[in-house]
Subunit: 396 residues, 2 copies
């Protein structure tokens, strides 16, 4: 049987992301991976979580193993809500929903807010998982270039003006994935003004908020929003552990309410043991201290990778960003060509990273960019991998 | 701000299921619940899982807490694939995907196979979580009545003939939710013939397969399928624990491949610790023996509930099914009225169950049916709850 005729239009053009394919490469022995968006594994509190998981299953096993409510495990939902309130993100009439990782927040938001054919303005480049989540509802994506201080606001306004079917701006204002760039306070305010003028909503994806290791924090777009235009997405993936798949969405109650109904039919509720483990970790330990420690490790690794890049990469052939947080450095080949050959040659030499085309609205166009993750590899592997990268770039 | 204008058409008509609302009622103290689709909590192997979770996090913590591949945790994926092969369900060119509970299988299947406006033939009544998952893609549902031996095949054929935009049959052939009815072997074969004649696919949702406590097993529709028309959905929710949210989909590789791409943008992958815990439980213990034990408990509870019903319910006012497995008994008020008043009056007297309207294609129409779950409550509570139910029915 041929199955193409049975497939929905929305998935016909959808491709498995380069990142997912690269996860398989990462699994290969001896591969040095700068590919994933993965926090430093040496920071995972696995021993503490081992005791916590055991205690929960011994003392509250039935609750942890039985069905739960879609909104989320009560104490964790309350903790996240309080934290959002304390940080000024929770507005009157806002609500919170626990999601199966930050990724589910993007999917539920898209499912609830976008009809097929609707347009979405996204940063160019942007997170491939978000672009594909949006594509999977047959929406049309419009890339808006990024300056050193975030999305270009003239380009954003022009895009919205020229495309009145755009309903949503999807943005990662802080330590943007993949560029590592943070949107300035002025631009955040300007983005909200533009959103109001063109009557669109904003999805603020903010998984890296707590990952700042240099510079000063900038207010979230959600915090600055006085109208209720922002759906905010947070995640425990970078605060604690991504494999647990726990995140949250915070936004206007009518939108969160619809997302809750849709989440119910997507996966009923998020794994309960994971939710209870996070809550118990928060009760027994100091989550903020843990995040600070991981952030310190990430900052050191970032500085080390940048030092290796300064030493081993040919500056006449490649340039890169110097992030103040997050997990990524974005590089651009100066000859303006495509990075795919570079990625393939490096993979053959056991160094993995993601080509820029994966993050582009037009994935088929040549793309001189590529993304390096600095958090996952150990320091000696970072040096070895960057040295190889330099060799391959020189040989191109 | 008014949010209705910003919502996608697909979610405007979607309602939170009565079951989800009822989960909140279940949480109330002293409530006797026949509402959820929840396995007997006294059978959860929580002490064994406590040791397993601890050991995994101590010995393989980094793997359990880090991102994983979308397809599923390798050893578990392999175990499920082998089991499907051993049972004759895995055909040449079939593949398996680990899902975040059986519910995600339904959602991913719908997302991959159905355009907005496409029709789906469903049993009437059918599982509310599936109906809502299908509604959330703006599909049109067509209810096909159920006889004592499953879906009425003449009605199915007439429905497909009259509605050529139907692309899929969604069925729960074994211990159907909510009716408890099992489709006969002859009808399963007939359903496949009809599916071939009208060139539609079949989604076989089979979470209760292992829950047979009486009668003889019937071959799955997937097993009988020689063409590759069936997408099969399984779940560990009823075999081990629903709160873990782990299930699987088995079907033609091109369909499973698309579902994998879509799962990646829905939640990246299923909680890894849960997948590893299930695999380790399978390694250390005897899953089939555990399932047999739970099945025994469910069978005893079912017989007990039926005995209580025979004793306390007025047979001139209500009739019910006598299932050979699964988790539900389906009742019908003989006056042909609507069960909503009954459900409300019972809830006020601390007995919860789900009104038939929740399982109907037309949720607004009066519905004389209601669903009782026999697996969750303890025997003395079953008697107390059924006695109350009888009192309320008599008083109507």
């Amino acid at each position: 049987m041929q199955y193409d005729p049975y497939l929905a239009e929305r998935v016909k053009g959808l491709q498995g992301s380069a990142i997912r394919e690269i996860f398989k490469i990462i699994g290969q022995p001896d591969m040095i991976s700068f590919a994933g968006g993965i926090p430093a594994p040496e920071c995972f509190p696995n021993e503490q979580l081992a005791g916590i998981a055991r205690d929960i299953l011994m003392d509250h096993g039935v609750q942890a193993l039985q069905y739960g409510v879609t909104e989320g495990y009560g104490p964790l939902l309350e903790w996240v809500t309080d934290r959002m309130r304390h940080k000024g993100l929770l507005k009157e009439n806002d609500a919170v929903l626990i999601t199966t990782g930050g990724q589910q927040g993007i999917d539920l938001g898209a499912k609830v807010l976008l009809n097929e054919g609707d347009g979405v303005a996204v940063e160019a480049p942007s997170f491939v998982g978000a672009l594909n989540a949006l594509r999977a509802y047959n929406t049309r994506l419009y890339g808006v270039p990024i300056d050193d201080d975030g999305m270009n606001m003239e380009a954003l306004e022009q895009t919205l003006k020229a495309n009145p079917h755009i309903k949503l701006i999807y943005a990662i204002p802080t330590f943007q994935n993949p560029s590592g760039i943070t949107m300035s306070l002025a631009k955040r305010k300007q983005m909200l003004e533009i959103a109001a003028r063109y009557d669109v909503l904003v999805m603020e994806d903010n998984p890296y908020e707590e990952q700042r290791f240099a510079g000063e924090p900038v207010a979230t777009v959600k915090e600055l929003d006085t109208e209720g235009r922002v759906l905010y997405l947070g995640s425990f993936s970078k605060m604690l552990a991504p494999g647990m798949r726990v995140g949250w969405a915070c936004g206007p109650a009518p939108v969160i309410g619809r997302m809750t109904v849709v989440k119910q039919v997507n996966d009923v509720h998020t794994n309960l043991l994971a939710q209870m483990m996070i809550m118990e970790y928060i009760r027994r330990h100091d989550l903020d201290a843990h995040v600070a420690e991981a952030r310190g490790v990430h900052g050191e690794k970032c500085r080390w990778m940048l030092a290796c890049m300064d030493r081993y990469l040919p500056m006449e052939k490649v340039t890169w960003t110097r992030p103040q947080g997050g997990l990524y450095i974005w590089c651009t080949l100066l000859d303006g060509g495509d990075s795919t050959a570079l990625v393939k040659q490096c993979a053959a030499r056991k160094v993995a990273f993601v080509p820029g085309s994966a993050f582009a609205v037009d994935m088929a166009a040549p793309n001189p960019g590529f993304r390096l993750n600095f958090s996952a590899a150990l320091p000696e592997k970072i040096e070895e991998g960057i040295r190889t990268l330099g060799d391959v770039i020189r040989s191109l």
